[in-house]
Amino acid sequence: MSTQTLSVHQPGAAIDAVDFNVEKVRADFPVLRERIYGRPLIYLDNAATSQKPDAVIEAITHYYRHDNANIHRGVHLLSQRATESYETAREKVRSFLHAADAREIVFVRGATEGINLIAQTYGRTHVGAGDEVLITAMEHHSNIVPWQILCEEKGAFLRVAPINDRGELLLDEMKALLGPRTKLVAIAQVSNALGTINPIKQIVRMAHEKNVPVLVDGAQATPHLSVDVQDLDCDFYVFSGHKIYGPTGIGVLYGKAALLEAMPPYQGGGDMISSVTFEKTIYNKVPHKFEAGTPHIAGVIGLGAAIDYLEKLGINAIGAHEQQLLEYATERVRAIPGVRLIGTARHKAGALSFVMDSIHPHDIGTILDQEGIAVRTGHHCAQPVMDRFGIPATVRASFGLYNTKDEIDSLVQGIEKVKEILG
């Protein structure tokens, strides 16, 4: 099964969804018992960050209560335990991404830091004056600005592959932009503002034909799709722990071992060296070369617990459940007079963005909030996407594994209320 076109139309996925017991999983998330202005919380802002299950909260607490010590440097038992938990989590991430080797997994603060790391190391050594970095018109600011900084410094150019009115990438145009000066392609697997799933495997093949490596921003893909970096054959892949039910402040950079080994270090400090004298410092092996200083150990352990949790439920079952929600929400919201969907790609995951005739998203967000419904309003850190559609902002409802059809019905009622108050 292709990892990027997973949808309920595929027979396997549909069966998975039947097995998925949403009421049962809801009990795993303590925050879902919160009441907002006296109403049950309806959390539809999962693309911004997801809620945390007890398993993750407990893993972090357990670490601080029982195992807290610095890693890779103590002879004492506690340090050994902490190191082991940390490295076990790295192995869990490897398996989650289907990477070949745990050495290819670098812990960073999040998708943003992963992209900046590549821009500052691989980018600074491979991109020179007159060279080009190719991104797309649907990128999050975190996959735009690091490249602008790099291009500015090097006298290089940022090229942007366009999208159509549905919010789908124009592959022919993208192919035409892959030129002799292109040094890197950086692209989201799933767009946070539009929900579009990009055909990464095809794009990687296209870029590799021109010997251009590809960085994939998986921040919005990892919550919904099973990812196989070897099948995608991407060179770098980044994602954030907090969007897959793990803690904030921890994320992952995957890089093919040969590329990581050839790259200069990112930050200098402890743990990233094997020996230091004032004359010469020898860097540690990958991935440690890129993990300077005491890392977010509790975060890594929490991320490992989040991956265990996802795998226990089954990422395909989760994806199928969310796909059903997205399709149901699309159908219901689209049917409301005066609503226009932004992002109607044929392959989508996770997010439903919309605008309403003469009612600003911010007003919609405030009224929905009073109903206990948390949505995101604004430009979603993707101002170029807003400009492309000629709008200042959208309302975005984004779905997680614990959302239900009833919650979508409440969203629809909420939108009706918006029309009643502001219409």
Binding site: I359, H360, P361, H362, D363, T366, I367, M386, P392, L422
Partner: protein, 157 residues
């Protein structure tokens, strides 16, 4: 629900739908652009001064009901005011929408008092004050001299 109706009063919705002084001045003495990065709202304020007195004021931009209504009402309340009076009014307005006013002060705010309901919605204060922050930048625009209109937009962040 009572709170929502407090904020989205009839008069506010009416201003939002048909804002007053919504146009560009062709040869403004002063001009400034404001931007609320949180919601993408934009606002441009145009001023014609007669000495220290605001002779004409207008605005343009895109934004939510609160920011449009606030800009519209602001332009209405500032015509004929001195720079100093305008800044005092901003201070009072700011106190009002952040819930720091006494009720007797609200009584002196005239029509602007309709926006008092915003104080129950802390996330919306910046919507209500965008036009005012932009106004302040425009009032100080004079000192910018040659670079008039070329500054980065001021932001509410």
């Amino acid at each position: 629900m009572a709170d929502l109706r407090d904020m989205y009063q009839e008069v506010i919705l009416e201003h939002a739908k048909a804002p007053r002084n919504y146009r560009a001045l062709e040869t403004p003495d002063r001009k400034a652009e404001g931007f609320n990065p949180l919601c993408g709202d934009r606002c441009t304020i145009y001023l014609m001064m007669q000495g220290d007195v605001i002779d004409d004021i207008s605005f343009q931009g895109s934004g939510c009901a609160i920011s449009r209504a606030s800009a519209s009402m602001m332009t209405q309340s500032l015509k004929g005011k001195t720079t100093r009076e305008a800044e005092e009014l901003f201070q009072n307005f700011h106190n009002m929408v952040t819930g720091r006013n006494h009720h007797d002060q609200e009584a002196q705010m005239g029509k602007l008092a309709a926006l008092a309901g915003v104080s129950a919605f802390p996330t919306r204060v910046k919507c209500a004050t965008l036009a005012w922050h932009t106004l302040q930048a425009a009032l100080h625009d004079e000192r910018e001299g040659e670079r008039k209109g070329e500054r980065e937009p001021i932001t509410t962040e």
